[in-house]
């Protein structure tokens, strides 16, 4: 049985989870990348979706018209770091509990997750058809004038994942911890290789 979070997500659902844990999502997932972050935080506009207790996805999907509605064709995560500048205020103002994307985020998001009890998690990059198959229905779309990738697609998802928690509610950061490990190994590896590539004599 997969560990599953169901929206609306409450603080007690996520407080015990730690960076590196794997979870799946049932419920509402709304795509939200650069533009809605900018509109809310910098331009002070009200979001057309109440995100309290819900999850957002840093993703620009390919969708197709399906009768009166829409069908999800392909939806993979985009680089979360682009939203780092706004994420702390975004969490504070919306009450969003789960932020899904690709790659790590920075100290701003760590602080937001810690103070307001939220998680950042990654969906495996490049797995866009898998993700689309876990979307049950696109219920509606808001701010479509921003174009297909930037619009807010309100999706109902079932067992959406795997989601690897990268920042937990204590502010632990999986990618930052990894980066320190990677960089610690670098100097010696470079020195070893360099002793063998002195081709200019």
């Amino acid at each position: 049985m997969n560990k599953t979070l169901t929206t609306p997500i409450k603080n007690e659902d996520i407080e015990q989870l730690r960076a590196g844990d794997i979870v799946y999502l049932d419920g509402y997932l709304i795509t939200c990348r650069d533009m809605p972050h900018r509109r809310l935080v910098e331009l002070g506009r009200k979001l057309p979706v109440d995100l309290q207790g819900l999850a957002i996805f840093h993703a620009g999907p390919i969708v197709a018209k399906d009768g009166e509605g829409w069908k999800m064709i392909s939806i993979g995560p985009t680089t979360s770091m682009r939203m780092e500048k706004h994420e702390k205020e975004f969490i504070e103002q919306t009450g969003v509990k789960l932020i899904i994307g690709k790659g790590g985020m920075g100290p701003n998001t760590e602080e937001g997750c810690k103070t307001h009890k939220a998680l950042h998690a990654v969906f495996p990059g490049g797995c866009a058809v898998l993700a689309a198959s876990e979307v049950e229905e696109i219920e509606r779309v808001e701010w479509l004038e921003l174009g297909m990738p930037e619009a807010m697609w309100v999706c109902r998802v079932k067992q959406f994942g795997p989601l690897i928690i990268s920042i937990d509610t204590e502010g632990n950061n999986l990618f930052e911890t990894n980066k320190v490990k990677f960089n610690a190994k670098k100097a010696q590896l470079v020195a070893e290789i360099n002793s063998q590539v002195r081709f200019i004599k």
Partner: protein, 299 residues
């Protein structure tokens, strides 16, 4: 077949192959990913590889692009000097990219510079990008179709070193790029390195290095040795799939070279993500063709 029919036929072949290459990874990449997957023992790395293979199976089954970012289409061609449609190649490839955008469908990724408008067709100024090499006395043309997403194009960069920096400077440059930008570029990565006397030469060669089959080696024994050293060293960093850490970092390291100026060493790096959508097709003067990257593929 007259010229007009041949142009139509070749456009259709390349369009279908471009569509296909966005949905299926080439055989050598599939083999390497399987090998890297088998080497992992941590639950996190395993679950990411499971998702990757599950995704590829679903992409094939549902006939959809395996990643939503289908890149800016590039064609690297080796054209025979006696290939009859040389004059029509640009039109053919442009029409093929446009057609594949509709059929696949591919994401619209061509944004005009200064106008900052997405053309919505995956064609635009100099796009699809075409890189030409002429093969003397051949009657056929080999086309490499390539689509790389924004995520793995982002680490691409180059630097011109002074000779005192030596090949050691190249190693440092490669490691710096990989530990800073590599993490978010969807590892395990294919690393293309170009070395020459000026930055344009190095950049072009770094991209061509990505088209060499996995397992092939630099023609110079020292170059081959340097590829292996870099592969081993980068794998020991252990980026793992998606940068969550693991046993490996790369699918391979390929170095392509051109003789340099005595006063300069230019190095450039191009990165391919795990979903390395590269396809190779050879089309003959009678419009018969052979797909060499994907065994058993039918268009």
């Amino acid at each position: 077949m007259n010229n007009e029919q041949a142009v139509k036929t070749m456009t259709s072949i390349v369009a279908k192959f471009t569509d296909y290459a966005g949905k299926h990874l080439p055989d050598d990449i599939m083999g390497k990913l399987q090998e890297l997957r088998n080497a992992e023992d941590s639950p996190l790395a395993k679950v990411v590889y499971d998702s990757m293979f599950d995704n590829l199976a679903k992409a094939a089954e549902l006939n959809r692009p395996c990643c939503q970012d289908t890149g800016v289409i590039q064609y690297y061609i080796k054209a025979g000097s006696e290939f009859p449609l040389l004059a029509d190649v640009r039109t053919i490839l442009t029409d093929a990219a446009y057609a594949a955008t509709q059929t696949a469908p591919l994401r619209h990724n061509a944004v005009e510079i200064f106008e900052e408008k997405n053309t919505g067709t995956n064609t635009g100024e100099r796009i699809p990008w075409i890189d030409w090499q002429i093969v003397p006395n051949s009657k056929s043309i080999e086309v490499e179709v390539y689509m790389a997403g924004g995520g793995c194009s982002l680490p691409g960069q180059g630097k011109t070193l002074m000779p005192a920096a030596g090949y050691e400077g190249i190693v440092e440059f490669v490691f710096d790029v990989m530990t800073s930008y590599g993490v978010n570029a969807c590892p395990p990565l294919l690393v293309g390195i170009g070395i020459g006397g000026s930055i344009d030469v190095a950049a072009n060669l770094s991209k061509r290095a990505l088209f060499r089959p996995i397992g092939s080696r630099q023609h110079n024994p020292k170059g081959a040795e340097m590829e292996l050293l870099l592969e081993k060293g980068l794998n020991e960093i252990g980026l793992g799939p998606q940068g969550i850490s693991g046993k490996n970092s790369v699918m391979g390291v390929h170095i392509e070279t051109a003789a340099r100026h005595p006063s300069t060493i230019s190095v450039a790096i191009s990165i391919g993500c795990w979903a390395h959508r590269r396809g190779t097709i050879r089309i003959n003067d009678d419009m018969s063709y052979e797909i060499t990257s994907h065994k058993g593929a039918t268009l």
